[in-house]
């Protein structure tokens, strides 16, 4: 009996706003479909983070839960130790911000992050960045275009040692003025894409899995291929995917 690969889902009740638990489901299922046993461990606030998991997943959340999550993470060294021990991390949205050096809270005050990623997040007065995103990933990652949905108020600037996950083709991403999206440091990947990101981008899921498990067999993904085609097209041609005007007007008049 081989030990199942452990995927820790950190603080789902604090950082799980946009179906982020789905990323853990995707990772576990892609292993099971390859006959590799896998299990997802939910880690709730107030519980210690288990060492020895292969992958840690964090999602997005509102300001107050985000600050609470950062506080919990900084109280111990489990996540930093795990990364040093070779574990991979996927951090989405608020999760990305928490793993940086510093991030801004709702009061405008700056909070200390975990420092696993060389970036800082502040806020500007602009509207939240919401909508479909297409990203051309960093060539070294060898991934196809990434598709996702973003919804955040933060502006993330990368530090001198940071490498972005890719360049924004459609959408805002880090919104720091350099056109970058996300940030990668070894096996730690941060991104503003949810949707959840791994459901729409199985190549990124397999990239994370291979980074800790070595090469993996390919999987046929017909449903995902169809979705990717549709979403990439919708992002590049948004007008073609708006609800039809006539039914839109009908709905407006009916008030729903």
């Amino acid at each position: 009996m081989t030990e199942p690969v452990s995927i820790a889902l950190l603080y789902p009740e604090l950082l799980g706003t946009y179906g982020d638990g789905g990323n853990a489901t995707v990772l576990a299922q892609r292993l099971r479909w390859r006959n590799i046993p896998a299990k997802v461990i939910d880690v709730h606030a107030g519980e210690p983070i288990p060492g020895g998991c292969q992958i840690y997943v964090m999602g997005g959340g509102e300001d107050a839960p985000q600050a609470l999550a950062a506080q919990e993470l900084r109280a111990g060294s489990a996540l930093v130790d795990a990364v040093e021990g070779g574990a991979a991390v996927l951090a989405v949205c608020a999760g990305l911000q928490v793993l940086g050096q510093r991030f801004a809270g709702q009061d405008g005050k700056s909070h200390l992050g975990l420092g696993l990623l060389d970036c800082e997040t502040h806020r500007d007065d602009g509207p939240r960045r919401i909508g479909e995103v297409v990203v051309a990933p960093d060539a070294e990652l060898g991934l196809p275009d990434l598709t996702g949905y973003e919804n955040h108020g933060g502006v993330t600037t990368l530090g001198p040692t940071a490498r972005p996950l890719g360049q924004v083709v459609v959408g805002h991403g880090n919104a720091g003025g350099d056109g970058s999206e996300g940030i990668v440091n070894g096996r730690v990947v941060g991104t503003y894409l949810h949707g959840p990101v791994l459901a729409r981008n199985p190549a990124l899921a397999d990239h994370l899995l291979s980074s800790v498990l070595g090469p993996l067999d390919p999987i046929d993904d017909p449903e995902v291929d169809a979705l990717r085609k549709e979403r990439l097209h919708a992002a590049r041609h948004p007008h073609m995917h708006m609800p039809q005007l006539s039914s839109g007007w009908r709905r407006l008049l009916r008030g729903n």
Partner: protein, 453 residues
């Protein structure tokens, strides 16, 4: 909110039903109502929908206080919550109608203009039963001064995630505190609702204020893991069940499940004085029995005899097209609506067991929320082994979610073809099919499946 959890006010079940005096409306309000009604009729006549929203807007443009003035002098009840508003309001209106005329927004237009237009045709002395969007309850209570409010539940919707839900609860709390004469009927099994309802202080004028706590046995807990009062964890004790539900309490402040004044034991609604009423509905599912329990308590707050209320509710067959059964090329298709993870958990309970095929429609229109990532919070794994067809504008997103849930399924964008596919998959000659959809997909499906062709 930084005040301590108030102890839940003691319920007062004595209801003194004051006979309302009809109020003469000012000229301006009468003109505003006439204009709004005319526009609503015209809008309906040209086929642009119900017209209730545009009509209400016109009235409000002429007289900002129209809602307040038109509601004055009527006994009224306002129903709000994330899920079950339309059904509960429909049941409540049926109960009130057993006694006399009722004005209600049965089509679900639940923002302020919709409330206004539901009062256009209100007869003198008619009772008013209104469903109100949870984000507009405070505004509605301030204008309508309702006799009673019925607070169902609060969970995150697509459009408003966590932070918003907490904000709604805080708004409710303030609005109820400012309306001390309003009787509050609240779901004791929802911590957010309990916290929001606790704001009702004993009235200084008469004895009509109080909270009637109803034990509905609600099961959705994912959105109530943090105490709305202090942010600590809520603990649900699985072994201590009392008065129709499981006890819950905050781990660090006094907020806890209040002792219900009415609760469910199976399909029996039990009152604290020992009376029992068997709730038999033509609407399916446990969740509708809970809705009915809330509606009975709401009707009682307006002086309706509970036995009479239960009887009247048993005659309701469909609610704004929900639970309606359509004949589609020989298949009997039952339509169900589910808008958010809590609603989907209920819908998955409602659908009939295998071999009934299931068609699921997902859109991401403005009214649905443009981002369907919530699909990953729905336990679709429960559909494994069934005949399932994915449809809707975002059927592809659903298809991927189903794939990761190991639910073998087909995808078909066209609603009628999706139903045909499900019928074929079932192998039955005259198949029964459950069609579950989110908001705009439900409307699209209803339109597509009722049109001939």
């Amino acid at each position: 909110m930084s005040d301590d959890c108030p102890a839940p006010p003691r319920a007062r079940r004595t209801v003194c039903w004051v006979k309302m005096q009809p109020v003469e409306l000012p000229l301006r309000t009468r003109v505003a109502a006439m204009a709004g009604r005319a526009i609503a009729d015209a809008s309906r006549w040209v086929g642009a929908g119900e017209g209730s929203v545009i009509g209400g807007r016109v009235t409000l443009a002429i007289d900002q206080r129209a809602l307040e003035l038109m509601a004055a002098g009527h006994q009224s009840v306002v129903v709000s919550g994330t899920n079950g508003k339309t059904t509960t309001n429909r049941l409540l209106a049926a109960a009130l109608a057993s006694r006399g005329p009722v004005s209600t927004n049965s089509a679900g237009a639940n923002l302020i203009p919709g409330l206004v237009s539901s009062l256009f045709r209100g007869r003198a002395g008619a009772a008013v039963s209104l469903e109100v969007d949870e984000g507009h309850l405070a505004e509605a209570v301030a204008a309508v001064h309702p006799t009673a409010v019925v607070l169902l539940n609060l969970s995150r919707d697509q459009l408003d995630r966590f932070g918003e839900v907490r904000r709604h609860a805080a708004d409710w709390r303030l609005a109820l505190a400012a309306s001390p004469a309003t009787v509050v009927v609240a779901n004791a099994d929802d911590p957010l609702v309990t916290w929001a309802a606790g704001a009702c202080q004993p009235a200084t004028n008469g004895d009509r204020c109080g909270v009637t706590w109803v034990g509905t046995g609600q099961r959705w807990r994912a959105d109530a893991s943090a105490c709305p009062n202090c942010g600590s964890r809520i603990r649900w004790s699985d072994d201590r069940s009392e008065r129709g539900g499981v006890h819950w309490a905050c781990s660090s402040c006094p907020l806890a499940r209040p002792r219900p004044d009415a609760w469910l034991e199976g399909s029996d609604l039990v009152l604290a004085d020992g009376r029992r009423f068997d709730i038999r509905l033509q609407l399916p599912g446990r969740v509708n029995v809970s809705n009915a329990a809330m509606a009975v308590a709401g009707a009682m707050a307006l002086g309706v005899d509970p036995a009479r209320a239960v009887r009247a509710m048993s005659r309701v067959r469909a609610v704004a097209g929900r639970y309606q059964v359509l004949n589609v090329s020989g298949s009997r298709v039952r339509l169900l609506l589910a808008k958010n993870p809590a609603g989907w958990a209920e819908a998955l309970d409602l659908i009939r067991p295998p071999p009934t095929p299931v068609v699921i429609g997902i859109n991401a229109g403005v009214a649905d929320g443009r981002d369907p990532s919530w699909l990953w919070d729905v336990p679709f794994e429960r559909l494994r082994g069934r005949v399932v067809v994915a449809t809707g504008d975002r059927g592809r997103d659903l298809s991927v979610r189903l794939r990761y849930a190991d639910v073998v399924h087909s995808y078909e964008h066209d609603y009628r073809k999706a139903v045909a596919l499900a019928a074929t998959g079932s192998g039955a000659k005259q198949p029964e099919i459950d069609f579950v959809a989110n908001y705009t997909s439900f409307q699209d499906a209803r339109r597509a499946l009722t049109s001939s062709g």
